[in-house]
């Protein structure tokens, strides 16, 4: 019975993975189409430089024309991708694979640390709130939460630059309030469930109640939340990195969009879609698994 369940889960996972990859590729090709037909494609700032001779400008335009045919671009891109070659960035003149390999760890680092900090702070604060039900605590945390939620991510980024805090702290500040309100309402709902009430009436210790009754109830939506919060923090990383000039994926995406760099946009979209989709798939699967295993 157990083996059957795990194999069906495995098959589900594989199917999802395939779906995910094809969706990611679809997203990448969609953004390629967008870039190709957007105004300003194939035009470079060097066209305004009067030092270039007419023949040089002609030669440059002819070179740009190689990108013109969209079906051929798809074909070349996909076949190169099959070989592991992601092409070369037009504006930075370096292989896209190398750029991604350099910048992904930086963004990943900030996102994971920011997420970790936000989760830690949100969970601890929510648990504290559970233990002390006084109105002062509730009011002040609601006010703080509200305040942090109301700050635009761009302002948080500017503050982070000024106070010289690392990027992950800004990401944590942006994600924390969203997590806190949800975790708090989840834990409160779980705390007021009849069987938990019964356990409390019986005089069970708070830590026992927490581990054996509340957490298993709250686990599936919390795990789903991990995926969603990952997507949120990744999304917040882009304007934050752009404003604090951190050399990560966000800044690369910003630069690629402004510079109409087709190979870069396509690949960054692919990577970002895969990551976001994977996070949500993980959240979904985890939620399902634990929902199945809950007593």
């Amino acid at each position: 019975m157990e083996i059957k369940k795990s194999t069906s889960l495995l098959r589900l996972g594989l199917r999802r993975l395939l779906f995910l990859v094809s969706l990611g590729l679809f997203g990448a090709l969609f953004s390629a189409t967008l870039v190709r037909f957007a105004p300003g494609f194939g035009v470079e700032e060097r066209e305004l430089d009067p030092r270039w001779s007419a023949s040089s400008v002609e030669a440059l335009r002819r070179q740009q024309a190689l990108h013109q045919g969209l079906p051929s671009f798809y074909f070349h891109y996909l076949s190169a991708l099959a070989h592991g070659d992601l092409g070369q960035s037009d504006s930075l003149k370096r292989p896209v694979g190398e750029l991604l390999r350099q910048r992904l760890p930086i963004t990943g680092n900030s996102v994971l640390r920011g997420l970790g900090l936000a989760w830690l702070a949100a969970s601890l604060l929510a648990l504290l709130g559970l233990a002390s039900r006084g109105w002062l605590f509730a009011a002040s945390t609601t006010a703080l939460n509200s305040l942090l939620l109301s700050l635009p991510a761009a302002v948080v980024a500017m503050l982070a630059v000024y106070l010289r805090t690392p990027v992950f702290f800004a990401i944590a500040v942006v994600v924390f309030p969203r997590l806190y309100s949800y975790i708090r309402s989840l834990l409160l709902r779980a705390y007021d469930q009849p069987h938990v009430l019964a356990a409390r009436a019986r005089g069970l210790g708070s830590s026992v109640i927490l581990c054996r009754h509340i957490l298993p109830l709250a686990a599936p939506p919390l795990l789903a939340l991990i995926g969603v919060s990952f997507a949120i923090s990744f999304g917040a990383a882009i304007p934050i990195e752009a404003l604090s000039d951190s050399p990560g994926l966000g800044q690369l995406a910003w630069h690629a969009a402004l510079g109409r760099d087709l190979p870069l946009i396509v690949n960054v979209t692919l990577v970002v879609s895969l990551i976001m989709l994977a996070a949500n798939v993980f959240a979904d699967l985890a939620g399902r698994t634990f929902a199945g295993n809950a007593p």
């Binding site: 350099q102 702070a121 648990l127 000039d245």
Partner: protein
């Protein structure tokens, strides 16, 4: 339980705290200049340089035959001890210094210069440096009579030939390091993409100071890649970087208030900002508007109705001068000082317009057919001075009844509109000029050229004055004496002042920030403003320098 939780919470926060504390690194070891590049250098090959960052690296690492002294604006011997340009302007002969070596020890001879020039003039190579030499069709001829003489002959005369060699960094013909073997004061020691470029002193550098000590004084130069100007100035204030080569006016004022010794305004630069009207006959906007833009009186009236003094005072905080022509007064030799400088006068503007058939009823200006005068000015997004200037021009022109709409576009879309689709009415842009000799602007003034922005690529000149400018451009390109060329250029500037195809607004000042710890700096109006004399710069002790990276 609360107590336990609070302990865990505070522990967690304490664990994360070390990450918040900015890294404290060891103090400076005396001799590393530290400043920022505003983007990634796209190439280290000096022949292919087209962006500002690569040009900075080329300036600091490349050895050139003739160097333009940024302060005196005169040419100085570099790798060549002397040179002679022939009477017909086609041939140049150099006497090179002997006994010099590249940064990796390879010896320097005329063969390297020949190799560099051949690579530069290769028709397959497309670069601004090479194109500056391409005055006509044909191959160049190079002779190397000895190891320290070289003669280069071009197929047709090249205007200002000797000055162009300031851009040509000599490559080694034999070194295994290819373009990384250099003759300049520094060489590229380390490059981490996205992070920094480290240049170290070239121990083989030929130049010595007056006492015979080898240059450069600095041990190394560290160039951090920092796109954000606000973060850059923050780091300058904290003493993490020693100079900022080019400052915007508002950042300059901010800095001036705090550390007046560090902020330097060298005076008007060669850069200009201007606005022009689309005069392309096939452009996709209303016909009657095309008639307005082609009317000289209309353009001159607009020029009179714009308050340049206000633009300079408010947008640039006084760090700009009103401009009336393509050549900045900072360009001592080529500027036509006899040009008229019409002051802001909206009444005179209205009189001119009335003479051209326009009618102002106190509220709206209308043309002869009764159409209200209204047009859209496009400019690039993200450039605060430009956005502010358009807003001020909008108000200025509303005084004479003209309604101006403002649209800001991102650069690629903007360029597409002005170079391909011609789907715009008026545009405000700037020109960053690094060249004293206006011959580099040939492609702006020739009516058949790409950069003749208001009506590019004409098969034959659309107006008599454009035909005259064409004739003058051809004349100055083949003229052999600078005096004759200056006469031609003076006449071009006069025509531009009369016809206003480009309505010049201001020449901004060359502003830079240099820490008092940098000894020997002499900010100039020519780029690179702050470190043009990098080889004689030195770092001294300065109490304001705290912990640096």
């Amino acid at each position: 339980m609360i107590r336990r939780l609070s302990v865990v919470l505070s522990l967690a926060i304490a664990l994360c705290c070390p990450a918040f504390v900015a890294a404290q690194s060891a103090g400076q070891s005396g001799g590393e200049l530290h400043f920022c590049l505003h983007g990634e250098p796209k190439t280290f090959n000096p022949l292919l340089v087209e962006d500002g960052q690569s040009e900075t690296i080329r300036y600091l690492t490349g050895g050139v035959l003739i160097r333009l002294n940024r302060q005196t604006q005169a040419l100085e011997p570099g790798l060549a001890t002397s040179w002679k340009v022939s009477a017909d302007g086609r041939t140049i002969k150099f006497h090179l210094r002997s006994g010099l070596h590249f940064s990796d020890g390879t010896s320097f001879t005329s063969e390297d210069v020949a190799y560099t020039m051949k690579a530069l003039m290769d028709p397959q190579l497309h670069s601004p440096t090479g194109d500056s030499f391409r005055s006509g069709e044909g191959q160049i001829a190079i002779q190397t009579p000895s190891a320290d003489t070289i003669v280069v002959t071009f197929p047709s005369p090249v205007a200002g030939l000797d000055r162009l060699f300031d851009q040509v960094a000599i490559l080694s013909a034999h070194s295994s390091k290819k373009e990384m073997a250099v003759l300049g004061p520094f060489y590229v020691a380390d490059y981490t993409p996205g992070s920094y470029v480290l240049l170290r002193r070239n121990t083989y550098y030929w130049k010595k100071d007056k006492e015979g000590k080898p240059l450069p004084y600095l041990d190394s130069i560290r160039l951090d890649i920092q796109r954000n100007h606000d973060i850059e100035i923050l780091r300058f204030r904290r003493g993490e970087i020693h100079l900022i080569n080019s400052l915007d006016a508002d950042l300059f004022d901010r800095l001036k208030k705090e550390s007046p010794a560090a902020a330097h305004d060298a005076g008007p630069s060669l850069d200009s900002e201007f606005v022009w009207f689309n005069q392309v006959p096939t452009a996709a906007f209303l016909e009657y508007k095309k008639v307005w833009f082609r009317t000289t009186e209309f353009r001159r009236a607009i020029s009179l109705a714009i308050n340049r003094a206000d633009l300079s005072r408010i947008v640039y905080g006084g760090h700009a001068q009103p401009a009336y022509g393509p050549i900045s007064p900072a360009n001592h030799f080529w500027f036509n000082s006899a040009l008229p400088t019409p002051q802001y006068d909206s009444a005179a503007a209205l009189r001119l317009l009335a003479g051209a058939g326009f009618h102002f009823d106190g509220n709206t200006l209308r043309d002869g057919l009764g159409n209200p005068v209204e047009f859209t000015v496009i400019t690039s997004t993200g450039n605060k001075p430009r956005e502010q200037m358009v807003a001020m021009i909008q108000q200025d022109l509303s005084q004479i009844g003209i309604k101006v709409n403002i649209v800001t576009l991102d650069f690629p879309s903007l360029i597409e509109r002005i170079t391909r689709t011609y789907d715009y009415e008026a545009c405000l842009l700037g020109f960053t000029n690094s060249d004293l000799d206006p011959n580099s602007q040939m492609n702006v003034w020739l009516s058949s050229a790409e950069n003749h922005q208001w009506n590019p690529r004409q098969s034959k000149p659309a107006t008599a004055w454009e035909a005259e400018i064409d004739r003058l451009m051809q004349a100055q390109a083949s003229a052999t004496s600078d005096k004759k060329r200056k006469a031609d250029w003076d006449r071009v500037q006069q025509i531009v002042a009369e016809q206003q195809p480009f309505i010049y607004l201001i020449n901004r000042d060359a502003m830079s920030a240099i820490s008092p710890a940098v000894i020997g700096s002499a900010p100039s109006v020519l780029d690179p403003h702050a470190f043009w004399n990098a080889e004689v710069l030195r770092l001294g002790s300065d109490p304001s320098l705290g912990a640096q990276k």
